[in-house]
């Protein structure tokens, strides 16, 4: 197989793309954040509800537009994040996203894959005051 290609488009990814989980808005979101890949036009908004101690992620929803990789990744991430701690979210990296997707992501598509993860992390960072509030929108850069 080549570096890229439809190996990426396994049933699970297509399923999440066509039937995104947790798609929509959470009115009681603790924080909301939006991000995009300017070059691709992918865009994702994530709503996250934390528990009262603000330590554990209770519910997540997303909405957005873009390629199958970015949208499926967001959909799968909403499931994965449920029940995770904020600390665990902060530690997620590119490898975790690729593991979650369960396919090889070609180097040129990795930005699409990690967008949702970045949006969730930046949203949390901004909420907890660790990031410049100016940075009102996230750009995937790896």
């Amino acid at each position: 197989m080549g570096i890229g290609g439809s190996d990426m488009y396994r049933q699970q990814i297509l399923d999440h793309y066509k039937n995104p989980r947790n798609y929509g808005e959470l009115e009681d979101a603790t924080f909301t954040h939006v991000g995009e890949n300017p070059m691709c036009g992918d865009e994702i908004t994530m709503d996250v509800v934390l528990d009262d101690e603000e330590e554990v992620i209770e519910r997540v929803a997303f909405r957005g537009d873009g390629c199958a990789i970015s949208q499926a990744s967001a959909s799968m991430l909403t499931q994965k994040l449920q029940g995770m701690t904020v600390e665990e979210l902060a530690e997620l990296d590119r490898d975790d996203v690729v593991d979650m997707l369960g396919v090889d992501i070609s180097p040129m598509r990795i930005k699409c894959a990690v967008l949702a993860e970045k949006v969730a992390q930046d949203g949390a960072d901004i909420y907890f005051g660790e990031k410049d509030l100016d940075k009102s929108s996230t750009e995937a850069d790896e």
């Binding site: 197989m1 080549g2 890229g4 290609g5 439809s6 190996d7 990426m8 488009y9 297509l14 066509k18 070059m39 691709c40 036009g41 992918d42 537009d65 873009g66 390629c67 199958a68 990789i69 070609s106 598509r109 699409c112």
Partner: protein, 415 residues
């Protein structure tokens, strides 16, 4: 190579000069349809490059030894060859070697625009400009207080020439238009635009990145004041671009890059400038790349640029028909039946262009997906991205069929 009198291209013979076209991925032969981004390089050009380093390599202009003389003459004559290729009767003095089309645009924007534009002045562009001219003039305008205006596009992907006549006024100093749109395939009436520009005392800059590689272009017939194009899109190497400029305009322009070769006299206090075109080629130029570009001109002229043009249009029309026949593919630019550049940008209804490109890659079909450096045009078209198949002399109708079949695979996968 030598081609018969026939008006048709001998594609099989041409393909032999491009070993890269024999590459296979997973047992499938490469179908290279990304020529609008960069063309492949024929053996005579590759050999010219290797020969240069093996036999002639030396710095130019000033060396009195044999190698430097050989390299200098070859490099200087490459300017003449390129001048001839685009019909510049002024020869080398009208041809500046840059690194790409983008730098050619910036050269004029910096050397002329930054010095000549002011708050009362206007630069007129088209809505289908490539970022190379759009961002450049937009930013230089911002710095000088000048205004950018954009000539509207009609629904069929052609320029609204009435709007062009409205936009271009006596305040207009520069009209910059893409000759063949790299997204729509539209062939713009640059000669008519040049007439309008000149009626108002403005200069005409033609972005020839997609036209010079694919059709006969005669700067003097167009009456362009400037023309920019890139070697890597016309069978030449990367790292070389061209700026054609009318001699009297280049002669009056301030220099752009400063350094060696572009000067005449230098003291600790000041400097004077060299003759054309060297005044605009500071430092050690892309010597090998310039020589190889001249070789690419030979290769293309040997095929015949009119043959190239017809082959381009033929494949584009065929692709357009095949794609439109599917029912769920939207294509952009002039409709089938209107001559266009050898490219078609499109979207498959159910599949994002990036996914489509990734899936096509599985069938070894190489297309481009994205905004093709025309983001504002894509915004106007209402899409974030599109897929684009772009053809060159070595492509065939069978390859278009493979493209269409691979699109069908994607359609099934996402159904």
């Amino acid at each position: 190579m030598g081609h018969s009198e026939s008006t048709l291209l001998d594609v099989e013979r041409i393909r032999e000069d491009f070993p890269i076209l024999q590459r296979e991925f997973d047992g499938q032969r490469l179908v290279y349809l990304d020529n609008g981004a960069t063309s492949q390089t024929p053996e005579p050009v590759v050999e010219c490059i290797a020969d240069y380093y093996r036999t002639t390599n030396a710095n130019v202009h000033r060396g009195l030894h044999q190698l430097s003389q050989e390299a200098s003459i070859a490099y200087e004559e490459a300017h003449d060859r390129v001048a001839e290729f685009v019909g510049a009767s002024g020869g080398r003095e009208e041809i500046v070697f840059t690194k790409n089309t983008t730098e050619s645009e910036n050269l004029v924007a910096y050397a002329w625009g930054l010095n000549e534009l002011g708050p009362e002045d206007e630069v007129v562009l088209t809505e289908m400009e490539h970022h190379a001219s759009l961002v450049t003039w937009q930013q230089i305008a911002k710095r000088t207080g000048a205004t950018c205006k954009y000539i509207r596009i009609e629904d069929d992907g052609t320029l609204d020439m009435d709007h062009a006549r409205e936009c271009i006024t006596d305040d207009t100093q520069m009209v910059s238009a893409v000759h063949v749109s790299n997204t729509l395939g539209t062939i713009n009436p640059v000669s008519e635009l040049a007439d309008i520009a000149h009626d108002h005392g403005a200069y005409m800059f033609v972005d020839g990145a997609q036209s010079v590689p694919t059709r006969p272009v005669d700067v003097e017939a167009i009456d362009a004041d400037f023309l920019a194009f890139s070697g890597h899109k016309m069978m030449g190497p990367t790292g070389i671009g061209v700026l054609y400029g009318k001699k009297h305009i280049l002669a009056e322009m301030e220099p752009y890059l400063y350094g060696g070769e572009m000067i005449k006299k230098v003291t600790y206090e000041d400097a004077t400038w060299n003759d054309l075109p060297w005044k605009f080629e500071a430092g050690t130029p892309p010597i090998c790349q310039g020589i190889a570009l001249a070789e690419a001109c030979d290769y293309l002229d040997d095929i015949g640029m009119d043959r190239v043009r017809r082959h381009e249009n033929d494949l584009a029309q065929y692709a357009l028909e095949q794609l439109e026949a599917t029912g769920d593919v939207e294509t952009y630019g002039p409709p089938a039946g209107t001559e266009r550049g050898g490219l078609v940008a499109f979207n498959l209804e159910s599949v994002h262009a990036h996914d489509l490109s990734s899936i096509l890659n599985d069938s070894a079909v190489a297309i481009r997906a994205g905004d093709h450096c025309t983001q504002p045009l894509h915004d106007k078209l209402g899409v974030a991205a599109s897929a684009r198949a772009s053809f060159y002399v070595y492509n065939t109708r069978e390859e278009v069929d493979k493209l269409v079949a691979a699109i069908d695979d994607a359609r099934q996968l996402f159904a």
